[in-house]
């Protein structure tokens, strides 16, 4: 016997406090921001949604974008196209490119930065870069709030707690004067096989003062080799013959480690991408 499905009840809070109160009383409700991830890939005309939905798009505070001396602060419900509107000179090339690579322009008018971070599926697009940029997240719940590093947020026990909502994303301004965001494959038509590479480096007086790079994989895991980055930071440019250097083993060993399964093709691509970025750094001199 088919039971009649109940249509969901929708709540339209206008302030963050209203939202937190509602969420506290209904922790099972669905927080609905852009909605693109919720309906993506579903073919029903009447998609089954949880009984209670809290719509976030009416809360102005959540869509605000602020610039301060040290960082860019983006409300979790700021639409991706609105963020792009800040301009490439503020966002810096890598972040600008990374946001632009997400879905179609029409979808970016709906999709939010918070949605991208909270989605369990789309870890590949912004995560690799935002972790490199030391992004911090504000998580609020009724009666309290905390700031957490994006990297920590990815650890399950540190992530969102019951009743908690991602409200703000803070990206520190940085002096990484060399940046690149590269996609291999096609994120739109073949998300599973595509990879994203984020590189940032700071070069001062011919010295590579800081270099970071991370890669987003098909299984939504992020690859980063900190000790390799550390070993390179502080070196004088140009760097030639790195593949012969014992330091390079740190990268190749990490690529071959059993923690992440990487096909030989991917290994070659990652090494190639990294070396090509290094090549670009050498060329900046």
């Amino acid at each position: 016997m088919i039971k009649n499905r109940r249509s969901p009840l929708v709540y339209y809070p206008k302030t963050v406090n209203e939202l937190l109160q509602l969420y506290k009383s209904m922790p099972d409700s669905l927080l609905f921001a852009g909605g693109t991830e919720i309906l993506y890939g579903r073919r029903e005309k009447y998609p089954v949604l949880p009984n209670n939905i809290i719509l976030l798009s009416r809360i102005e505070e959540l869509a605000a974008i602020k610039r301060s001396e040290g960082y860019l602060e983006i409300g979790a419900c700021a639409k991706l196209n609105k963020i792009l509107g800040i301009g490439e000179h503020v966002l810096k090339p890598a972040l600008y490119q990374a946001i632009k690579s997400i879905a179609t322009c029409e979808v970016r008018n709906l999709a939010t930065l918070g949605g991208n971070i909270c989605s369990s599926y789309r870890k590949k697009t912004l995560f690799p870069l935002l972790t490199l940029l030391d992004t911090r997240l504000e998580l609020r719940k009724h009666g309290g709030s905390r700031w957490i590093n994006l990297k920590k947020y990815m650890i399950e026990s540190e992530g969102l707690q019951p009743g908690e909502v991602l409200t703000r994303i803070r990206i520190p301004f940085n002096n990484f004067n060399n940046q690149a965001f590269v996609i291999t494959g096609d994120l739109k038509s073949d998300y599973h096989n595509a990879m994203t590479f984020a590189f940032i480096a700071s070069v001062q007086k011919e010295v590579l003062s800081d270099i970071r790079f991370s890669i987003g994989f098909s299984n939504n895991s992020i690859f980063r080799v900190r000790d390799f980055e550390d070993a390179l930071s502080g070196r004088k440019l140009p760097i030639f013959g790195l593949t012969e250097d014992p330091v390079y083993n740190r990268l190749t060993t990490a690529l071959k480690s059993n923690d992440i399964e990487i096909s030989p093709f991917r290994r070659q691509q990652i090494e190639g991408m990294f070396l090509s970025f290094l090549h670009q750094l050498n060329d900046t001199l």
Partner: protein, 695 residues
């Protein structure tokens, strides 16, 4: 102009609330038997249709082949329709759909193309011309190679479907089809009513690439059965994912070549073994295998030839026509093989082609009886000159040897030459008596009646222009009736560029006949004309002799690429295209068609869409198009053919082999399967590297 678009209705626009909606419940296993179907209690006007509920004929017929409209208990491919769930409350239907479960007995071996048994063979052709074995003995060198092409799905933008209403005791079907009369006949047979009691209307359609040839008939049957049972209007629209996965796509194929060359690099003998995957129901395998055999040896002089070809029945969705129906696969394989032959003979691919292309039709591999001179050399020279091929090829070949990831992007260039057969092969056109009629009314207004479905409004405009020119009438006074089977004669399916070659010829004949009697007989004058092959053609399908097509188009192309040696992605820099396709009716339209087909062909040759079930996220639902602006140069050479030939299939036959050859040249390797994604290119390079180390 596009503003008229507001009146265009696609099949999805025919739904109105209250109509009965039909959902197809499909098999989730590739083969086996149904043990049990668990159906929850149905509410309201909801109902179920299974194989046994089909009123009369339970099979869909296409030419001489048949397939069950719904599964008869035996599952032959994953996604085979098992039952229809219908009702007017869509929300309720969606809920019921989730609760239907089917149990299967799946203790069977899956039939595939890779390893096959004798009983899988649907049709086999053995053809021989000259003495291949003797010529192999005489050959200076023999080259053996294997090529494969994958199955290819349709990525049409608009959904597929059919709607039915009962009006004055007649079934009125609205169905996005390229073959309205096939839909009418199948619906009348399946319901068990005379064909005159079924009319088929064709709504607006997007570009089809032959995806709506016979599959639309299946959906029309579903809608008709439900309306017949409930006496209410019904509509069956399949989701985009189903349309991609189950609409009859391009057949996968495997080619094994053995070619003997003389000292100069000229072909002496050829042996080709071809296997094609027709899927679970080989609905069009006869035409497909004939076309594949016809084109497998390319357009080169071949003194001795042996072809063995078979189409196999497998547990995959049925294969369909898809642009060219075999020409694409054949020309990819044979043109890629030609590049290897050129390399073996120590010649540039262009030189080898110029040396080997047939000068007269009688020298073609299949040896057409017509002695018409051919212009393949002119076509090749045209693209060579436009693209500066020779210089570029030499430079890129040299650069490719110096492999270094940091030496920048690798450029490559490839060339190919092919033909396109317009219309069905041989007698099909004549036997089926496909007709067009025209009527000049008292007010000097002309009506053209044909069931051919124009691809776009430009095609219809072209028909009007041609008729208008003959009868000296302005296009505004010409009406084209195409959409209702009760008003128009059967003009056959709209594929193989028939709308340009066959239909235009018939319109011309009708108009010329009206012109002759216009001032002698009282108006209205109505004239009907059916197609007849020229007597000189004399095609014999048993011996593969004669000339099989009413009109043949010829083409050559050069593709230049740039491959990133790190991530192995390829950007197409330019395509130079030359064609000899008879009388050009509208140059702008022809160029636009070539351009859009080149883009599509590049995408399908380099992107391998992930094959997934519709339930998984991430299946691309749109016809992927590379975000690159390709410089395309097109030239039509002066043709010796007075009739018009099609050209839409030429890019799909030319581009894949030229593109893969360009990538192969750039990366100093050899790509032998289609599509070739960057992952595939890497495997190829890696394999080569390993071989080098082992040696």
């Amino acid at each position: 102009m596009p503003d008229t678009h507001k009146d265009k209705r696609f099949i999805c626009d025919y739904y109105t609330p209250g109509m009965i909606i039909i959902r197809i419940i499909r098999a989730s296993v590739p083969c086996g038997n149904i043990i049990k179907i668990n159906i929850p209690e149905l509410k309201g006007d909801a109902g179920i249709i299974q194989f046994g509920d089909i009123p009369k004929n339970r099979c869909l017929k296409v030419f001489s082949k048949e397939m069950p409209i719904l599964s008869d208990g035996n599952i032959r491919y994953e996604g085979e329709p098992i039952l229809l769930l219908y009702g007017s409350n869509e929300q309720q239907i969606e809920e019921t759909e989730e609760q239907i479960s089917i149990e299967y007995d799946t203790d069977y071996t899956i039939k595939s193309m890779e390893i096959y048994t004798e009983d899988q063979i649907d049709r086999e052709i053995n053809y021989q011309r000259g003495k291949p074995d003797k010529n192999f003995e005489k050959s200076f060198r023999i080259i053996e190679e294997e090529y494969t092409t994958d199955a290819q799905n349709h990525y049409d933008l608009e959904p597929q479907g059919a709607a039915t209403v009962i009006s004055k005791k007649k079934l009125e079907i609205t169905c996005a089809t390229q073959w309205p009369f096939n839909v009418r006949d199948n619906v009348s047979a399946c319901i068990g009513i005379p064909a005159k009691d079924v009319t088929v209307n064709v709504p607006a359609m997007g570009k089809t690439h032959s995806g709506k040839l016979w599959y639309a008939g299946l959906l029309a049957c579903y809608s008709a059965i439900v309306t017949w049972k409930t006496k209410k209007p019904s509509i069956c629209i399949i989701p985009k994912t189903d349309s991609i996965l189950y609409t009859p796509g391009r057949a996968a194929s495997k080619f094994k070549f053995k070619t003997g060359l003389d000292e100069d690099g000229k072909i002496l003998s050829r042996s080709i073994d071809i296997t094609i995957d027709s899927g679970a129901f080989p609905m069009l395998s006869e035409e497909m295998i004939n076309r594949i055999c016809f084109s497998a040896a390319g357009v080169y002089s071949t003194p001795a030839l042996r072809i063995t070809a078979r189409s196999l029945i497998t547990n995959r969705p049925p294969s369909g026509a898809f642009n060219g129906m075999g020409f694409h696969q054949s020309f990819f394989a044979t043109e890629s093989h030609s590049n290897s032959l050129a390399a073996a003979a120590g010649l540039f691919p262009s030189e080898w082609r110029l040396k080997n292309v047939a000068k007269k039709q009688i020298n073609l591999p299949m040896g057409w009886e017509s002695r018409k001179p051919m212009q393949l050399e002119i076509l090749l020279d045209t693209v060579l000159e436009m693209s500066d091929y020779t210089r570029k090829y030499a430079a890129y070949k040299l650069a490719a040897v110096k492999q270094n990831v940091f030496s920048g992007k690798k450029r490559g260039i490839g060339i190919s030459v092919c033909c396109q057969g317009n219309g069905f092969m041989g007698k099909v056109e004549e036997n089926e008596k496909y007709t067009v009629s025209a009527r000049l009314d008292n007010d000097d207004k002309l009506s053209i009646m044909t069931s051919a479905v124009p691809e776009n409004f430009q095609t219809a405009m072209l028909w009007k222009e041609i008729a208008g020119k003959i009868l000296e009438i302005v296009p505004a006074d010409i009406k084209i009736e195409t959409t209702d089977t009760s008003l128009v004669p059967d003009s056959g399916p709209s594929l193989f560029s028939r709308n340009i070659t066959i239909i235009i010829q018939l319109i011309e004949k009708c108009c010329n006949a009206i012109k002759k009697s216009r001032f002698r007989l009282p108006l209205p004058i109505e004239v009907k004309r059916s197609f007849r092959l020229p007597r000189t053609n004399g095609w014999n399908p048993e011996t593969f002799s004669g000339n099989p097509f009413p009109v043949v188009s010829w083409g050559a192309a050069v593709v230049e690429t740039e491959t990133d040696p790190i991530n192995l992605t390829t950007l197409v820099r330019g395509v130079w295209f030359a064609a000899d396709c008879g009388k050009i009716l509208n140059r702008e339209l022809a160029e636009a068609e070539i351009e859009s087909e080149i883009y599509r062909s590049i995408t399908s040759s380099t992107i391998k869409p992930p094959v997934k079930k519709y339930t998984e996220k991430g299946i691309p639902l749109t016809p992927a198009q590379p975000a690159m602006n390709i410089s395309i140069t097109t030239k039509f050479i002066d043709s010796k053919e007075l009739k018009s030939g099609g050209l839409g299939e030429l890019p799909d036959s030319l581009v894949p082999s030229a593109l893969l050859e360009a990538i192969s040249t750039a990366m100093n390797t050899k790509l032998t399967s289609l599509p070739s994604s960057s992952e595939h290119l890497f495997r190829q390079l890696n394999h080569k590297e390993k071989e080098k180390i082992e040696n």
